[in-house]
């Protein structure tokens, strides 16, 4: 995080440094000083008691907390700021309580501070970012809806029927065993009371099994004719000894 102090000092908590933007002078801070100044600047407007500072700056990081130590760090920070040209007393002492950032100090952090030249160059943000959460939410809802739909569809609905061959003749869509040909389909209708008629759109399902052996003949045939949702099935079975 970065803080701007009095408009010309930048305090970078990552670099642990104070930089005068006008002169380029830089002071490196110790880790404890950095934590202390960051803690005070983050709570500007509030009084931080010595105990609060002990806990959040020293104890939490295993450093030795004492009044003299704290006074020493405060004194160092004041001197650093003064050396960089800050005439105002930024860190003020609240007697018998602790410390605070002076009320008249001008402090900004990088979330609220923009230098004027940056503001001029940066175009006004598009309205996109404000819509971001809405789009994200919509995307989540769509994803959820898709997942919900997948749950409703049974997997076996997509199981391919490898043992069925599809063929189109005139207006007939014929589903049949792969071993059968169109001629077999035509011949199969010789057993049926109705001849093969493909002048109208319809679906035909044809299964046929025939064995002509030395002991006799075995044949089974199933024809299903579906036209506009209504079906007629015809089953023929023949088994003859020689």
């Amino acid at each position: 995080m970065r803080f701007d102090i009095e408009g010309f000092i930048t305090f970078d908590t990552e670099d642990a440094s104070l930089l005068n933007l006008l002169t380029g002078d830089c002071v490196e801070l110790s880790q404890t000083s950095t934590r202390l100044l960051a803690e005070l600047l983050s709570h500007r407007g509030d009084i931080l008691s010595r105990n609060e500072i002990f806990h959040s700056v020293f104890d939490k990081y295993g450093a030795r907390a004492s009044n003299s130590n704290l006074n020493q760090y405060i004194s160092t920070l004041r001197r650093n700021l003064s050396e960089l040209g800050v005439e105002k007393e930024i860190i003020t002492t609240v007697p018998r309580i602790g410390f605070k950032i002076a009320d008249d100090a001008i402090i900004h952090n990088d979330r609220e501070y923009r230098t004027p030249f940056l503001e001029e160059k940066t175009p006004e943000p598009a309205r996109g970012p404000s819509r971001g959460p809405l789009f994200q939410r919509m995307a989540r809802i769509i994803t959820l809806g898709f997942a919900f739909t997948l749950l409703l569809i049974q997997p076996n609905a997509f199981k391919p029927d490898a043992d069925i061959h599809k063929m189109v003749k005139d207006q007939c869509t014929i589903f049949m065993s792969p071993a059968l040909s169109l001629l077999d389909v035509k011949k199969s209708f010789d057993f049926s009371p109705q001849p093969l008629d493909c002048s109208q759109p319809k679906e035909l399902y044809v299964y046929k099994k025939q064995v002509k052996g030395t002991l006799g003949n075995i044949m089974q045939l199933l024809l299903i004719e579906c036209n506009k949702g209504s079906c007629v099935s015809f089953y023929y079975r023949e088994k003859n000894n020689v």
């Binding site: 997942a147 919900f148 749950l151 099935s233 015809f234 079975r237 088994k239």
Partner: protein, 155 residues
């Protein structure tokens, strides 16, 4: 923060409901068709014609049949409902084993059960292997262990 948590909870609830619905609903499939059977085994001839209704769930088939049967030129009426419970026998070959059959005969039904069994609608089907196949998810084929004998398409 609260809105995010609420949104997440709604998403989870929807997902849970969808999952429960998908996994608990019975996959019912039903259709009706006209049928015609011609069976000539040596000198034994059977002809049958009528209407057949199928309703198939995960482990049960309900068959409603109404028609005429001619056995060696002797005509009888068939009008009955069968509730067949089955279990997979060889699902890849579309073969299923009948575990129980409950037959409800109409008063007009006077067909000999031996003939009805031959057409897969009689008593004594327990333990038999049947052919059962759903095709394109809208056509059902039903038959004996060697061949499909009946079929219909879902409206």
């Amino acid at each position: 923060m609260f809105k995010r948590v609420l949104f997440l909870l709604i998403c989870l609830a929807l997902l849970l409901l969808g999952g429960l619905y998908a996994f608990s609903r019975p996959a019912v499939f039903s259709c009706e068709s006209q049928f015609s059977v011609v069976q000539n085994i040596n000198s034994d001839n059977i002809r049958a014609e009528g209407m057949i209704f199928f309703s198939m769930a995960d482990d049960t088939i309900l068959i409603d049949i109404d028609g005429l049967i001619s056995h060696n030129k002797k005509i009888s009426l068939i009008s009955r409902t069968l509730k067949i419970k089955y279990e997979p026998y060889n699902a890849d070959a579309h073969l299923y084993k009948i575990t129980s059959v409950k037959t409800l005969r109409d008063a007009t039904d006077n067909v000999d059960d031996r003939i009805a069994v031959g057409l897969l609608f009689g008593k004594g089907l327990d333990g038999k292997i049947i052919y059962l196949k759903k095709f394109n998810n809208n056509v059902i084929l039903f038959g004996n262990h060697t061949f499909p004998q009946y079929g219909c398409k879902r409206h």
